[in-house]
């Protein structure tokens, strides 16, 4: 299982291209799924005009955003203003590359690996890329040269930095149990033991709550707070530049769900029947969209937190729980050995 296979560069490149485009496609249809599910949960139909069942709505959105004027404030700090959404989008897409979505397949002498890149510290890489993505938000708000954008990006960054701590600590339990920082090895470890969502149930809850705040989705969507605040760091963005921020947010959510599936739900493996692992990507995508649907369900159900409630919850509840979970897991892992 741990045999090192070599993958030819002419397989790697088209595969990376394909994965990026599939992630973009997932993003497009996550927006569709979100609208549809929210609609049905609010006794509405949701999109049903563009194409069958409204499936062409993401395409229509894309066309609209691309054709729209990309208005920029005259005082905006030009290069940074333009680069900020690109940075967010880039880190969001790059983070997906280390997630394992398949067991790897051999065709004669050729080997196709089930990740885009397999690095031994993939978990740290994901968190590092996520932190760089925050730069996109704060620089975008600052470079807009508007006080509302600046305040919005302060708000966003305070939230993201606060919850990143809990998020990283909640993963620590899994790392201790999996004895590795490589997502591939954590997935393989779950094959031999339990899926980690059972022993790490507390970690999972903290991870999901922290992850929702980290991807700024309801009920922690204070960076945007559509109904009562100015949009936040992307107030001065329009057209596809705004679209890049928005897609970065959704792709972050997809990556985070993917990470959650990898860490707690055994990634691409099918429970009990190991022969079904050949079509690993199918199970991976199914598990991923189950989680995304839970995120949407949460958005349809829970009202938004106030800012002080958000901070109190993050620092006084989530962080101690995550720390305790990590400490207890460490003690148990040592005791069992």
């Amino acid at each position: 299982m741990f045999v090192h296979h070599h993958e030819a560069w002419w397989i790697m490149l088209p595969k990376a291209f394909l994965v990026i485009n599939i992630v973009m496609l997932f993003f497009a249809f996550t927006t569709w799924l979100e609208r549809k599910l929210l609609g049905r949960m609010q006794n509405r139909y949701g999109p049903n005009r563009a194409g069958p069942k409204g499936l062409l709505v993401p395409i229509a959105d894309l066309l609209k955003l691309i054709r729209k004027e990309a208005f920029a404030p005259i005082a905006a700090k030009e290069p940074l203003y333009i680069i900020a959404p690109v940075v967010s989008m880039f880190t969001a897409l790059a983070a997906f590359s280390v997630l394992p979505w398949g067991p790897g397949w051999s065709f004669g002498h050729h080997y196709i690996r089930g990740t885009v890149v397999n690095v031994p510290i993939s978990l740290i890489l994901i968190f590092a890329l996520g932190s760089i993505g925050i730069y996109g938000f704060i620089v975008g708000g600052w470079a807009s040269e508007s006080k509302y954008s600046l305040l919005g990006s302060m708000r966003t960054c305070a939230q993201l930095v606060s919850y990143e701590v809990s998020l990283a600590l909640s993963v620590l339990g899994v790392v201790l149990m999996g004895q590795s920082l490589s997502l591939q090895e954590i997935v393989d470890k779950q094959q031999t033991t339990l899926w980690f969502f059972i022993p790490q149930a507390v970690g999972l809850i903290v991870f999901i709550l922290g992850g929702i705040a980290e991807t700024s989705r309801a009920p922690f969507d204070l960076p945007e707070a559509d109904t009562e605040l100015v949009a936040g760091y992307h107030t001065e963005y329009s057209g596809m530049r705004w679209g890049l921020f928005q897609s970065a947010e959704y792709i972050n959510m997809i990556t985070l769900s993917g990470l959650c599936v990898t860490l707690f739900f055994d990634g691409y493996h099918f429970p009990w029947v190991h022969s079904l692992d050949v079509v690993g990507p199918v199970w991976f995508v199914l598990k991923l969209f189950a989680l995304v649907s839970i995120f949407i369900w949460l958005r349809a159900t829970q009202p938004r937190l106030r800012y002080d409630q958000l901070m109190r919850f993050g620092w006084k509840i989530l962080l101690p729980v995550a720390t305790a979970n990590a400490v207890v897991t460490a003690a148990l892992v040592v005791a069992v050995k």
Binding site: R40, R44, Y45, W297, A300, T301
Partner: protein, 164 residues
């Protein structure tokens, strides 16, 4: 610690809605009947003999809070008899982009010449097309909007009016 069970209860409520039929009415396919007293696009009326009811008195224009009615009267002559009165409206225009559909013109009119109909699908691509001329207002409406049964939906006479 009632927070946790209450939160979970909320999830149950939202999940249940998925299996219900949405209450949205699919508008262009299904047009909900308007209420009997709905105030829509204006119509100018005629007598059965074909003469216009409007005598060009401009009371509607005076009553209009949005100032969207323009009336230019002219004298009826034996050769050219348009309305039942002494004068008739040579020009009668309503600027629909300003009209607020308050129905004061209808109230002000002494001859029931102008009434508000039921049509509400009157958007145009061009603002100039929203200035309705007399010919357009006199013509029978192009689109017929279904009207709900007055017996079922018309407001009953309020108590204070009935017992005044």
């Amino acid at each position: 610690m009632a927070v946790v069970p209450n939160t979970l209860k909320g999830f149950g409520v939202t999940l249940k809605q998925i299996f219900k039929k949405p209450i949205t009415q699919q508008y262009p396919e299904y047009k909900r009947p308007v209420y009997p007293r709905f105030r829509g696009r204006h119509r100018l009326n005629r007598f059965e003999n074909g003469l216009e009811k409007c005598v060009g008195c401009s009371l509607c224009a005076a009553a209009c809070p949005a100032d969207c009615i323009r009336v230019v009267p002219a004298e009826n002559t034996p050769e050219n008899r348009v309305s039942a009165g002494e004068r008739y409206a040579r020009i009668y225009e309503i600027n629909m982009s300003r009209c607020i559909f308050c129905g004061y013109c209808e109230l002000a009119c002494p001859f029931d010449a102008i009434t508000l109909g039921n049509d509400f699908e009157i958007s145009e691509h061009n603002r100039d097309d929203l200035i309705y001329t007399k010919d357009m207002l006199l013509a029978p409406p192009l689109k017929q909007v279904p009207v709900a049964d007055p017996d079922l939906y018309d407001t009953p006479i309020p108590y204070y009016k009935d017992h005044a």
